[in-house]
């Protein structure tokens, strides 16, 4: 067994109370001065991440790649892209992160490789090649025609003809990303060896990209098949047996009832993203009512005790609208993508702050709701300082611009010439680096960054948010999203006002009769709860979090 790492207590469920922070390595910090972020640069910023209080860094793919899909087109699973450094740099980074109590997980694409991968180059070379059967070939481009096309803006079919191979190959994403053939046991073994290689290098787990699509079967939509779950369970057995305290986080952009299948009986993935709740938080805010959130939570099945949801507001992809109804999608586009350039595939390619029109109250409220839900929050780099986006950059690059560290040249991201940068930093008057940067916000006590750090620290003091039960309250005032979280002796009440106007709400807290709400931030004591409905008034877009304390003193 590989040791769990000398800087951590053994805890197979550590991920349930963790706060994740997603990093686009290329855009975080350039330690070598060549215009691209890299591992050395990231290592330099670990003090910042430790200060912020996050528990886990999630890295987007860092493997050798032709970079036609942001590195999700992997050309070699056993190395690191030259722009990012060397394997020694990766190991040094992981060790330095661990020494600060920060764990590291990385994206791994199991479903496909880049067409540049030597496996594919061999496979296409001749029908008799030993690697031929590592990919999915066909003479008939109508096979598996019930499978939807995911990148509808760029791809017209899931099959692409390859002259050299003399056959069509299968791909669920871009045509330069051929799907691996998981029906071939050699492929399964090879990918499990890839997991081992990176866990040996010190990684604490993986975010498994695009897991629903590993297998293909006739007369199905080729998603969430039993065979896919069987393979993931096999991967889990290997990880549990050889590497304690690691995590597998599934990316399955599916409805909750389908996603829970990825937890198995607690014997498949440890975590999975809850995709559908995300757009509904944005919807709830615009409509000023809690109903969309309450509905999706009601539809979310229970998950095994040793599993956890990953929850997020924004990430490196578009704000996906696949898991909403057509009507809801139209509503979201109308409200949040007024410029058609903001739409991409089935979603909206914008960052959190511009989506909120820069509204500080709204950004705080969304974080409060995110942190109150049962799951582990996943933050996206730059959102902690309310960074903006650039809709004039192609694909999803507009939400992957350089991190804004200071008001100096290149936003403090790189010492390279501006022209050398992988992407221009934001320079507009509202979200540009001169207005929005880490240094300025560190120096401003009332900044979003300083607020978020305190909020992260607060959440971490209360494991109830990661481990506790969740009970949504349904007060008469639908503009209020309120819930009670309970874990052991800790009972926490979270009340959020979705409206742009001040609201009063009467909450039925009779189950907590005799307890006293104590506000978590300022430790103010509120009147004791009695038999009658408990009245609270909230500022526009305001929220309160209380601990409901046992209190023998009179009201």
């Amino acid at each position: 067994m590989q040791p769990a790492g000398q800087w951590f207590e053994s805890d197979p469920l550590w991920f349930k109370t963790a706060i994740f922070y997603e990093i686009h390595l290329r855009g975080f910090f350039d330690g070598t001065g060549d215009g691209h972020g890299d591992f050395r640069g990231l290592t330099e910023k670990l003090d910042y991440l430790q200060w912020l209080g996050i528990d886990v860094v999630w890295l987007l793919p860092m493997y050798p790649s032709p970079m036609r899909d942001g590195g999700y087109d992997i050309a070699d699973f056993y190395g690191v892209h030259q722009d990012y450094g060397t394997m020694d740099d990766v190991r040094a980074f992981i060790e330095a992160a661990h020494e600060r109590g920060i764990r590291v997980i990385a994206d791994l694409v199991m479903n496909h490789t880049s067409s540049d991968h030597e496996w594919f180059q061999e496979a296409r070379s001749s029908p008799g090649n030993a690697k031929r059967d590592w990919y999915v070939w066909s003479d008939d481009p109508t096979r598996y025609d019930q499978a939807r096309i995911i990148f509808v803006d760029t791809e017209t079919s899931n099959w692409t003809w390859d002259d050299k191979a003399g056959a069509y190959y299968w791909h669920r994403f871009f045509h330069h990303q051929p799907d691996l053939n998981y029906d071939n046991p050699e492929v399964q073994d090879a990918m499990i060896d890839v997991l081992r290689f990176w866990l040996d290098a010190g990684l604490d787990g993986f975010r498994l990209d695009a897991v629903p699509y590993l297998f293909e079967r006739d007369e199905t939509n080729c998603e969430n098949l039993d065979e896919t779950h069987d393979f993931l369970k096999r991967a889990r057995v290997t990880v549990d047996a050889e590497y304690p305290d690691r995590v597998l986080l599934a990316e399955a952009n599916q409805w909750p009832a389908d996603v829970v299948e990825y937890f198995g009986e607690g014997d498949e993935c440890h975590m999975a993203f809850h995709f559908p709740v995300m757009p509904r938080m944005f919807m709830a805010l615009r409509r000023e009512e809690a109903t969309p959130i309450l509905e999706i939570l009601a539809q979310t099945p229970h998950i095994p005790d040793n599993c956890q949801w990953g929850l997020f507001l924004r990430n490196h992809d578009e704000l996906t609208l696949e898991m909403v109804t057509d009507e809801e999608r139209d509503y979201m586009y109308a409200e949040y993508a007024k410029d058609p350039r903001m739409k991409l595939n089935v979603g909206i390619r914008r960052r959190l702050a511009p989506l909120m029109d820069g509204g500080r109250d709204e950004i705080e409220l969304l974080h409060a709701m995110l942190f109150s839900l049962p799951g582990s929050p996943v933050l996206y780099y730059g959102d902690e300082i309310a960074m903006g986006d650039n809709v004039y950059l192609g694909d999803r690059d507009g939400v992957r611009t350089p991190m804004q560290w200071t008001g100096d040249r290149n936003g403090g991201f790189s010492r390279a010439d501006f022209a050398q940068l992988y992407a221009p930093p934001l320079m507009d008057p509202v979200y540009g680096y001169q207005a929005v940067n880490v240094e300025a916000q560190l120096r401003t006590p009332s900044s979003l960054l300083r607020w978020l750090r305190r909020f992260i620290a607060l959440r971490k003091e209360h494991p109830v948010f990661g481990l506790g039960s969740f009970e949504a309250l349904t007060p008469g005032n639908e503009k209020i999203f309120a819930c009670v979280r309970t874990y052991e002796d800790d009972v926490v009440l979270c009340v959020h006002n979705l409206a742009r106007s001040a609201q009063a709400v009467e909450l039925d807290l009779s189950a907590y009769n005799g307890r006293r709400p104590v506000e978590l931030f300022g430790r103010s004591r509120f009147p004791k709860i009695g038999e009658l409905p408990y009245l609270l008034t909230l500022a526009p877009r305001g929220f309160f979090w209380f601990r409901l304390e046992v209190d023998d003193e009179p009201a």
């Binding site: 800087w7 910042y48 600060r100 109590g101 560190l442 120096r443 494991p463 002796d489």
Partner: protein, 422 residues
């Protein structure tokens, strides 16, 4: 004798009343043994990792050594001498301490046993995963021939189901020496004369700690561009927190009451200093009580860092001026304690002279590349660290020793009145 542990009655009650139990103010939900290793049958001696679980569901872990009689303590000594491996617990050093045993008095977070006035074994009570900084620091300084420490002679650690952690260390006992704190109170003028020596020893210690770029745990680092902003943001938050809870009815607080914003502005002003110097491993909890004076010179003790901070924080590299600030604050304490404890005011100007004597010698001795460029930048950074320390002291004294509140208050007020060096 503080060891072995004789647990009479329920475990929870026993743990909660121990001096080393750190979280007396928190509500404990339960106390449980997570891992038990039988170190010896006869005499009976075991090692237990015990969890104190708080109401919110967080926990702290402690080391217990249940056993009976002095023979159990001798057994620990024998295991160190034999470099034994018992289950997940390994003992190192190869030296079996002997002679009469006694407990070391006035212990807070740990338990120490002195063997024959020659060796002292320190058992860490609060246990966190990772290498304890005291082990790392003593090993590093002893190996590089720094004379100002008592050499490391052994240690034991666990690599069990719960975690990997250092459990205890053994080092030479500093005999016939006087505690720096006691000395400053008993003989302020005599101490004053020896403080330049202490400043020089401190400078030398920092120079040695920064001397090995090949050891990743000790290699000096350049501060990142936001290092100072992170530091001041953290201190600013601490000031805000302390002032949030400041009682309104304590006369001793009068000089700073309602001046929280002013102090935070002052901090901002002081933080306008270029990033400079280097970050190194340092003592971490440096004050007169951590020093001993012998005829041969000063010996520096207790490299664990501030007990209230996590092990990961205590291992972080920071400017060596943080230690210097700790010692300067300690002089303020000594000057006031003379009156508080002995009813005798310190000699006029003692604190100022102590500061100057120590600081001049330190700045002359220490590797200059560790300091920010120029005296004004050094003074500013030092003032920031002194403020950090004073704010920490204020919180501690308010909770523990209300009579001592005026000392940090004076330290904070002093910074308000001083010119900010430019």
């Amino acid at each position: 004798m503080s060891l072995p542990d004789r647990i009479d009655g329920p475990l929870e009650e026993w743990v909660l009343k121990q001096r080393w139990f750190a979280s007396k103010a928190r509500e404990v939900a339960s106390v449980n043994v997570l891992e038990r290793v039988a170190l010896s049958e006869d005499p009976p001696l075991a090692l237990e990792l015990v969890e104190a679980r708080f109401q919110a569901g967080t926990h702290e872990l402690y080391q217990l050594l249940p056993g009976e009689g002095d023979e159990a303590v001798r057994m620990l000594a024998r295991l160190l001498g034999e470099e034994a491996q018992v289950g997940p617990v390994s003992f190192h050093g190869g030296l079996e301490p002997s002679g009469a045993i006694r407990a070391m008095g006035a212990e807070q977070s740990n338990s120490s046993i002195v063997f024959g006035e020659q060796q002292v074994l320190k058992v860490f009570r609060r246990v966190e995963p990772g290498v304890n900084p005291e082990l790392e620091m003593l090993r590093f300084l002893s190996a590089r021939g720094f004379g100002g420490v008592a050499a490391l002679t052994g240690w034991y650690e666990t690599s069990g189901e719960v975690m990997q952690a250092t459990l205890g260390i053994m080092q030479e006992f500093v005999a016939e020496a006087r505690d720096g704190w006691e000395l400053a109170l008993d003989d302020p003028l005599g101490t004053l004369a020896r403080l330049p020596e202490l400043g020089a020893a401190t400078g030398e210690m920092h120079t040695v700690l920064a001397a090995d770029p090949s050891d990743p745990a000790f290699a000096p680092e350049e501060p990142s561009m936001e290092a100072l902003s992170l530091l001041t943001a953290t201190i600013d938050e601490q000031i805000e927190q302390v002032f949030l809870d400041l009682p309104r009815d304590t006369p001793a607080l009068a000089p700073i009451l309602g001046r929280g914003e002013e102090i935070r502005d002052r901090l901002q002003l002081m933080s306008h200093v270029g990033v400079g110097g280097r970050l190194i491993r340092h003592h971490g909890d440096y004050h007169l009580g951590q020093t001993m004076l012998r005829d041969e010179g000063w010996t520096i003790l207790d490299f664990e860092g501030e007990p209230a901070r996590t092990l990961l924080e205590r291992r972080r590299k920071r400017s060596p001026l943080r230690d210097v600030a700790g010692m300067l604050r300690s002089f303020a304490y000594a000057a006031s304690a003379s009156e508080l404890l002995r009813g005798e005011p310190a000699p006029a100007g003692w604190q100022e002279q102590a500061r100057q004597g120590f600081l001049d010698a330190y700045l002359e001795t220490v590797d200059q590349s560790l300091l920010p460029a120029g005296r004004p930048a050094t003074d500013k950074l030092l003032a920031i660290f002194e403020l950090e320390k004073a704010v920490y002291e204020l919180r501690y004294e308010l909770n523990n020793r209300p009579d001592w509140v005026p000392i940090p208050v004076a330290g904070i007020a002093r910074l308000l009145h001083e010119e900010v060096p430019t």
